[in-house]
Symmetry: C2
Subunit: 404 residues, 2 copies
């Protein structure tokens, strides 16, 4: 008897028909003798509707009340899914994040899971129930509802799988697996049979948006095998696991992230600890910085450019304005019309030619590179947002098309 | 510094404009130096939308999952109201039923409050917060969400007022107070300045629907002064309190309840304990029986008719079918097209003429009486539903119009 965790995103439960489709997948798994824990996101439109209601009343509402509001979304979807499973004649119980034991940090709207106390889930599984858990949400030490931020339901699912030593964690989405590029944009994109945690991590971070990066980090840490597959078609997906036997292809995909912004802090005094002082202000506000470019000093000042997630951009720019007010500096520039394009592959480190091949593809397509960042398994470039799709196609063609 | 509990129903928070209207009332009360606890129902349409979603998937879903679903409604409304109050610049915090300490019985969809542990509310009030509490919901001993059934938010408000020894509990609705009859149907209906708990209790039970009966029972038990008033007009409402000084009028109102059904159990063997055995089956399922009529025995059998709330009717009829299968009996008849009309008044017991005056009014209006029930402060009759409005008008005219 295996323990299987299945996660379904908002589009998989968007309406009654789809809820029954999910109920069918879940009960088929249960029928085979498995213990099944299901993690569900809010229904497709619910979250948008709730955000709209909130914005109509107070766009600057506190994050605590935003979390209180948004957490209602999964409460609705878990109850509806449980009702559908009852209709199919199977024993089932739905649990909110706090009932399922999700204890998080206090950071409203972007809390992190501290631990999952799975007693209640185990008790319900022992009663032969299918257990439906609200993803995306938990409880902080003040006994207040928190949410995990975008894609948090993936993390919820992996956290349960890790805490309960699940045999498999299946992430159902609206795509059939992990592709070498976005198949809606690049018709020749190929589905990967397997991908390593590290590659998936880069793909997730880089906006391939199939899996939330925190969920992959957690899966890697606890060695949980993930399967990314479609809830709409009955075909095998992509397995994400430890890189024991790599696929031959030395890069695994091309990813695009347009939800990124560039901030340039111009003319700050060139003192020791400059970068530390600057970026500690951002990390204090939980803002992650990605690519960083520091100019060579001139007249005793430096320019520092960096990228942040677009939804943090305005706050980050404001923090930098305060920073230059405090230490001196010329100006802060914010550019939200940028995109980050990355090639990812665990085989990359032994192939010096990857970078030049990527840059050649961009050069051929007349696309300017604004910033560059490299790691052992990826190369990222920052370009103008309007060039993003063309860049992905050009790079994918260069690496994957037969005639190259 | 007074402690004031204010309760707002679903229509009072139906849209953004109304939410701000409520926020204004609440903050005006807070500004005067009061400690304010606000109990809110789900927004007007939310509950209906959720029920529709549930019915589309499984009309026979378990009550546990129904409660899980419906409780999302107040979660949305408390967050939105808190956001509106934040926008007005006041400190506020919203609490779900379980966070506010509502411990209930386990009976899903119709749970009763066992106690309110108000530590969290008090802590938030000490921090000078306006406290918004989700009405209608609580937590049972399995740590599962329960709801209190129709009108449960009134009970939530009174329970907080009782537990915290509040100075006043204001119930805001879409009417301006308690009237001698439904003012939309009977133009000559008068608003009462005060009404006793017992009278209000009868009016509530009888479908005047201004206040939930359990809330009035609780207010009576703990001697909490209630004020029923409109959230839309700024006029004093009706005070509900102990009957120290009665109004001169010896009946206080005429009430109509169409959400009632009559069940007749025909030809059951006339044995000792018949009624007990029959009705214990209903009470085991938490179904309340109201008017009971037992025929004189004939051929060793009896017919028993009784009324129940319409939403319990089908379940009650089914239980009676099982009953006659077990003990013998001819048939079970269910009639949902009935209405209960009642006159209520604490002065009634000393006026033998009330019943005959009521029956005369119905006779004059050619309305058949099917069942009769009397208590110290009310007389109820069961009639055909189609005659209900005419009956209320006829009776109100007889008792309240100047020329009678």
């Amino acid at each position: 008897m295996s323990l299987i965790v299945q996660k379904f995103g908002g589009s998989s439960v968007a309406n009654a028909e789809r809820v029954f489709n999910v109920a069918k997948i879940v009960t088929d798994t249960y029928k085979k003798g498995n213990r099944v824990v299901v993690v569900v996101s809010a229904q497709g439109d619910t979250t948008d509707d709730l955000i709209e209601k909130a914005n109509e009343i107070n766009p600057n509402a506190s994050k605590r009340e935003k979390d209180m509001l948004l957490a209602a979304g999964e409460q609705i979807s878990i109850a509806l899914l449980a009702m559908a499973i009852e209709k199919l004649g199977y024993p089932v119980v739905s649990l909110l994040g706090w009932q399922a034991g999700f204890q998080t940090t206090s950071a409203y709207t972007s809390a992190r899971i501290k631990r999952v106390r799975t007693d209640r889930i185990e008790k319900e599984l022992d009663k032969k129930n299918i257990v439906i858990v609200a993803g995306f949400q938990g409880l902080n030490r003040y006994e207040d509802i928190t949410t995990l931020g975008r894609g948090g339901s993936d993390t919820s699912a992996v956290a349960i799988a890790a805490s309960m030593h699940a045999d498999l964690c299946q992430i159902f989405t609206d795509v059939e697996g992990v592709y070498t590029a976005d198949p809606r944009k690049v018709p020749t994109a190929k589905k990967l049979k397997t991908v390593s945690y590290d590659e998936m991590l880069e793909l997730a971070t880089l906006g391939a948006q199939v899996l939330n990066n925190r969920s992959v980090e957690m899966a890697k840490k606890y060695n949980i095998e993930l399967e990314v597959l479609s809830s709409f078609t009955n075909t095998p997906g992509t397995i994400v696991k430890e890189a024991i036997k790599m696929e031959k292809m030395f890069i695994s995909g091309v990813a695009k992230d347009t939800a990124v912004a560039r901030i340039s802090v111009v003319g700050v005094p060139d003192e020791p600890g400059l970068a530390f002082k600057m970026f500690s202000r951002l990390s204090a506000k939980n803002i992650n910085v990605d690519i960083i470019l520091q100019s060579i000093g001139r007249d005793g000042t430096k320019d520092i450019s960096f990228t942040v997630a677009e939804n943090n951009a305005k706050e980050a720019a404001k923090i930098m304005e305060e920073y230059i007010k405090a230490v001196g500096g010329k100006q802060v520039l914010l550019d939200e019309k940028v995109a980050k394009i990355s090639v990812v592959g665990a085989g990359m480190e032994s192939h010096a030619g990857v970078a030049s091949k990527m840059f050649e593809a961009l050069y051929d397509a007349h696309i300017n590179i604004r910033m560059i960042s490299t790691s052992e398994i990826k190369i990222s470039v920052l370009i103008d947002e309007e060039d993003a799709d063309a860049a992905v196609s050009a790079i994918h063609r260069k690496f994957f098309d037969m005639d190259n």
